[in-house]
Symmetry: C2
Subunit: 406 residues, 2 copies
């Protein structure tokens, strides 16, 4: 089993890179804080006897040699970037849990057949560069490297510029890294495991998710002189659209989810009726068919709102990640390990996207969930216990050892 | 009568300071573009034999001596700052119309009893520093100089810093400038005069207006894992509030107006349910009693929305400009001048706030409106004709000469 105290110590140490006053983390992808935690990752893994490299998308690989180094490695990992007001476990736990497994192998002097690797995937959150899971997406062939490199943040800086600034453009082409299996440990980020008092979630797949950018165009006008009936108010129209985006999820309850996270109005002056409003839409459903239905419903409702408000609307799909079913053998490795270790368990479909989604396109993959407090995530109050974090890492250790025998 | 071609030439020249690709103007208060137009104002007025000074709020006064220079001046004016995507007439016409009057007096060699002044008031729009009519507000005693100087723009720069940067902190204390009368020429910014085919609006007063900042507080949560029923979505709540702010105006139709011009959501990530949304509210009504009713209705509706959505709301009043009735004698000067000149006319209450609102607290005041195309204002497409601009200036010339005899 892994050293739970060392794992917790690592979680506490890394929380200082971008730590916020409210106990969360703001460590946007390829920010100075991200460079700090990346340096910490490299040092820590080297101290455990690993070699550390990165590929052309800045994905970091810490490799512990195996007995048969011509075999492709068994990988564990997740991401070290966070949301703007992110928590201390989302992503980080999967990387530090991987390090905990390396440390357990190291301390016990265990020699695996395959090399064992821990990966830190670049820009998983999509908080700085949209869409999420960008570098694992290139790894899995979902995005081209050109597309990913040219993504810009809110200030117009490209991902490529930031990779160069940090010295993270590696020689190895992203995606040319073979692997035998991939395991990702993560907090659930939802309320199911806590409610069912389970320690381990055996993740069988990930729900489908689609993103859109909506642009509403009306006409700017003076707030004091333009009669209500003569206005083409882009924000009033957008407000009614937001309500209708919510109605889409209600129509597909309880599985369907819809969220608007970003909204901007122009020209943004108190006494000017807004001429243009832009907002993002995130639709999710575990069933690809139902998700398609949600999309059609959503598009129809937006057109109806636009017509009723006499404004124009244009909708651009910006991301589409299909529902995923993980590799049966890898899922079995997780399930059997949990059983052996006597943890309470339950199968679960992930509501959040993870690097495992795209990695699973090219490598047999499974995920392990542990509970988080009240299901709260993407929030500085995100919290998990040392006990559960250790349990999840133990399951990952055993799953890796099982996969090593196959 | 004034020289309409020279007036039009001035309008074209000043439109180059901050001119936009779409034919509008972006000349925020105390920006570099504003400094350019201020320098132009000073030069142009000096060429007409005026002395040009500014007070401690950066208000510029161009003074043409009279026969009795111990008499307080008769003032004309408005503002040279614009909205972010503002038009070519809002404010500017009142200052350039004043210059056209100076030019007519100069060319005809007319000597008035009172000195005649043209004023450019600082930061009328409220687009850069909120609230609007800030420097005329200090002049009229509505705001203290400390309050006005410490207003900040979106980047945190204070009005005072920008006044200093431009060298516009004058020795004369703002408000210590006596005046016998004040006339402000302005485009209507609304559709009434155009619809009634009138050239001149005799402005009898200005409607009441109140501003608020609304803060909605929910809880940030993951877009993919948080069941719809467990969310406290600040943006969904805000959307419903925006709809209800609109309903307030509908309940007080047709006189009541409500507008939301600025909205910001935090943390602004596509896959995070917003925890906080801020928006501005602008309520207007020509009747102070009805405006009070609107405020109460608005506050009640916001509380109801917050309760229904399980979020918190806090509402801060940020500006309150009571309904104004202009000076009867000044209004009569305008009405009689329009009659003498044989223009089609109509009495009108201004929907927009103007510097005249605050100046009228300390100086007998009236305003002259001319039509603008389709009533569109605070928009780059804002437009007015040379004919109407000239007519309005002619009325102002005659009104000033009448006031000079009283
Ligand atoms: N795990 C996680 O929060 N990933 C971001 C992608 C998503 O929005 O699900
Ligand atoms: N005239 C004008 O647009 N003034 C700004 C103040 C207002 O919002 O009415």
């Amino acid at each position: 089993t892994v050293n739970g105290q060392a794992l917790w110590h690592d979680l506490t140490t890394t929380a200082t890179f971008g730590g916020t006053a409210k106990g969360g983390i703001c460590r946007l992808a390829l920010s100075d804080e991200d460079f700090q935690v990346r340096a910490w990752f490299e040092q820590t893994c080297k101290a455990l006897g690993c070699t550390v490299t990165h590929d052309s998308m800045g994905n970091q690989f810490a490799r512990r040699a195996g007995l048969q180094n011509d075999l492709p490695p068994i990988m564990m990992g997740s991401h070290l970037d966070t949301q703007v007001t992110g928590g201390r476990f989302d992503g980080i736990l999967g990387v530090l849990g991987g390090i905990a497994v390396l440390r357990a192998l190291h301390d016990a002097g265990i020699h695996t057949r395959h090399p064992i690797e821990v990966v830190n995937w670049t820009n998983e959150e999509g908080a700085r560069f949209r869409p999420p899971m960008l570098a694992s997406g290139v790894f899995g062939g979902a995005f081209t490297e050109e597309f990913a490199s040219s993504r810009t943040d809110a200030t117009g800086i490209t991902l490529r510029q930031e990779l160069e600034r940090g010295g993270f453009v590696g020689e190895e082409h992203c995606g040319q890294h073979p692997a035998a299996a991939y395991f990702e440990l993560h907090i659930e980020q939802g309320p199911v495991l806590e409610a069912k008092e389970c320690t381990i979630g055996v993740v069988t797949g990930v729900q489908g998710m689609r993103w859109y950018e909506v642009v509403v165009r009306g006409r700017s006008a003076h707030a004091g002189t333009t009669p209500m009936l003569m206005r083409k108010d882009a924000l009033l129209a957008a407000a009614r659209m937001i309500d209708q985006v919510n109605a889409v999820a209600q129509a597909y309850a309880p599985d369907g989810l819809s969220t608007i996270g970003i909204i901007t109005a122009f020209p943004a002056s108190s006494n000017v009726v807004p001429r243009e409003v832009r907002f993002t839409v995130d639709l999710r459903n575990p069933s690809e068919g139902a998700l398609q239905g949600m999309e059609e419903d959503f598009l129809r409702r937006m057109q109806e709102c636009a017509q009723a408000a006499d404004v124009e609307v244009s909708i651009t799909p910006t991301w589409n990640s299909s529902a995923v079913h993980f590799d049966k053998r890898c899922v079995a490795c997780v399930r059997e390990s949990g059983k052996e270790l006597n943890y309470s368990m339950q199968d679960i479909v992930s509501g959040a996207g993870h690097d495992a989604v795209y990695v699973s396109r090219v490598v047999p993959t499974a995920m392990i969930f542990v509970p988080c407090w009240q299901g709260i995530s993407h929030n500085e109050a995100e919290s998990a216990t040392q006990e559960d974090a250790t349990a999840g890492s133990n399951v990952m250790l055993h799953a890796v050892l099982k996969a090593d025998q196959e």
